[in-house]
């Protein structure tokens, strides 16, 4: 076995120097090392999406199939880093208000998948929402409410920014 190496990883704005072995995944570092257990561990093969986090470009990536050693120097946002100053993000608020949760295991992954969409496309249509969430599906049958919550949050964000989304008054 090759020795551990130190990686410099920023998680939710906090810098960490962490010793990792070659076979450790980003998911293991986040959950077992940093004890940020909002990010879940599911299929560990890139199909279920519950391990989704955002990378430095704001894109949704799968922490279970990302090697920790490859995250040296990178900056990651997990679901714990989405709220600001103790206030929930409009996405989180919309999930609450619309009851877009059943068992809740997929929720952090869905929030981070939707964040990945908002970070890269601030004014997405329903097609773009469906596509962004297709890699992280609620298997409890609650996926429709999730889609509604994301669409609702986008409207809320647009309304507070004083702009309009796709023809709908904000």
């Amino acid at each position: 076995m090759s020795p551990k190496q130190i990686i410099h990883l920023t998680v939710n704005g906090d810098h960490h120097d962490i010793a990792v072995g070659p076979t450790e995944t980003l998911n293991q570092v986040i959950r077992d090392g940093l004890r940020l257990t909002g990010t879940k561990r599911g299929c560990t093969s890139g199909s279920c999406g519950v391990c989704t986090v955002n990378d430095e470009r704001g894109r949704a990536i799968l922490s279970c199939i990302t090697l920790a050693v490859e995250c040296d120097g990178r900056s990651i946002t997990t679901v714990e880093g989405v709220e600001r100053d103790g206030k929930l993000h409009p996405l989180q608020q919309a999930f609450l208000e619309l009851g877009a949760v059943q068992c809740g295991v997929c929720t952090p992954g869905l929030i981070m998948s939707a964040m990945g969409l908002l970070n890269t496309n601030p004014n997405p249509d329903q097609r773009a929402i469906d596509e962004a969430l297709a890699g992280a599906i609620c298997r409890c049958t609650g996926h429709i409410k999730v889609k509604m919550a994301v669409a609702h949050a986008i409207q809320q964000i647009a309304a507070s920014a004083g702009t309009e989304t796709h023809g709908q008054p904000g």
Binding site: I61, L62, T66, V69, E70, D130, A134
Partner: protein, 343 residues
């Protein structure tokens, strides 16, 4: 699933990658996006002793416009970066559509084009956990001369399912492979072999460097049929590129994938379209021969009968799509009227 033990190597240059691949011949895998490799390693389908990380190398990133209107796509470019590239949207909309069809946004944010070209074939016996596979003996892909999907087969029949591949072949793309022995460029159509266990001509010491897509003046189409719209592997994919007008077709390329162990050209259908042009009758005739164009196919994932019916539907839809498109000298120019070919 924890990953099996391996050593991680971070090379400092492209030359270093090639040296490592040469020295560690057969014991090392290149790690790009990792979306398939790490999942397969979790299932103990692959147990490389070394992983060579290439995401750090700027030489393997980016899309370059060539003077002739074509593209050079560095193999480590992520599929999302490709989708967002204005050159692709402008000049190669069919390629963009095929890349968008791969897996999910999450996977495309990580996965690379080179990785999609080298995507291993899949079957319902081998692509399982080690415990599942242990219930029977090995197979052509692991360590035994046997196939549990098709007992009478003398080779691996696992399915080739990369979505970008048929579209790239239809565009006449080629791929540059590099090793310490030098570089070679092969047409993508010749990159694949009719053997699920060893599906490409990539040597153990070679790296996929770049994909070249020539300028496209053809009318093109891509279709993928899946159980669900998102994240599924295709039950069948097709890409079509037609040179010329509906009346006079100079060349037709029709490539299907996910129906066998390698991407397949439908040669007889291509000939019919080239000789008869694009019209209702010729499309009907091409669709009628498509089923026999497939050659021998298996009941893997879906029954062979379903595949033969599916290819007919795919071919008709793709050719109808192309037939309705306007034809001009360059597909990325707005051409108001179909141009008449003057002999």
């Amino acid at each position: 699933m924890h990953l099996p033990p391996f050593e991680y190597v971070r090379p400092d240059s492209l030359g270093h990658v090639l040296t490592l691949l040469g020295e560690l011949r057969g014991q090392a895998s290149v790690l790009a996006g990792g979306t398939d490799l790490l999942a397969s390693m979790g299932q103990r389908l692959m147990k490389p002793k070394f992983l060579i990380g290439i995401r750090w190398l700027p030489e393997l990133q980016g899309v370059q416009a060539m003077a002739d209107g074509g593209l050079r796509i560095a193999a480590g470019t992520t599929l999302t970066d490709l989708e967002h590239d204005p050159l692709l949207a402008e000049r190669f909309p069919t390629l963009k559509k095929a890349i968008n069809a791969v897996a999910s946004r999450h996977v495309r944010n990580m996965a690379t084009l080179g990785g999609n070209l080298a995507l291993p074939t899949r079957c319902w016996y081998t692509n399982q956990t080690e415990g599942w596979r242990d219930a029977r003996s090995g197979c052509f892909k692991t360590d035994t001369q046997a196939c549990h999907v098709l007992a009478t087969s003398d080779h691996c029949v696992a399915t080739s399912s990369a979505d970008s591949v048929p579209a790239l072949i239809a565009h006449g793309a080629s791929v540059t492979l590099a090793s310490v022995r030098g570089e070679r460029t092969v047409p993508l159509a010749e990159f694949y072999r009719e053997d699920g266990a060893n599906p490409t001509v990539l040597a153990p010491d070679e790296l996929i460097l770049a994909i070249h897509v020539p300028a496209c003046t053809d009318r093109t189409a891509f279709l993928k049929v899946t159980p669900r719209e998102g994240i599924d592997f295709g039950l069948g994919t097709i890409a079509v590129a037609v040179t010329g007008s509906n009346r006079r077709v100079a060349r037709a390329r029709i490539i299907v994938n996910a129906l066998g162990s390698h991407p397949m050209p439908l040669r007889e259908a291509e000939t019919i379209i080239r000789e008869q042009g694009l019209n209702e009758a010729s499309i009907e005739a091409a669709a009628a021969v498509a089923r026999s164009d497939l050659g021998e196919i298996t009941n893997l994932w879906t029954p062979a009968g379903y595949k033969r019916r599916l290819v007919r539907v795919l071919l008709k839809r793709a050719l109808e799509d192309v037939r309705k498109q306007k034809w001009g000298h360059a597909s990325f120019l707005q051409v108001g009227e179909e141009m008449r070919h003057v002999p």
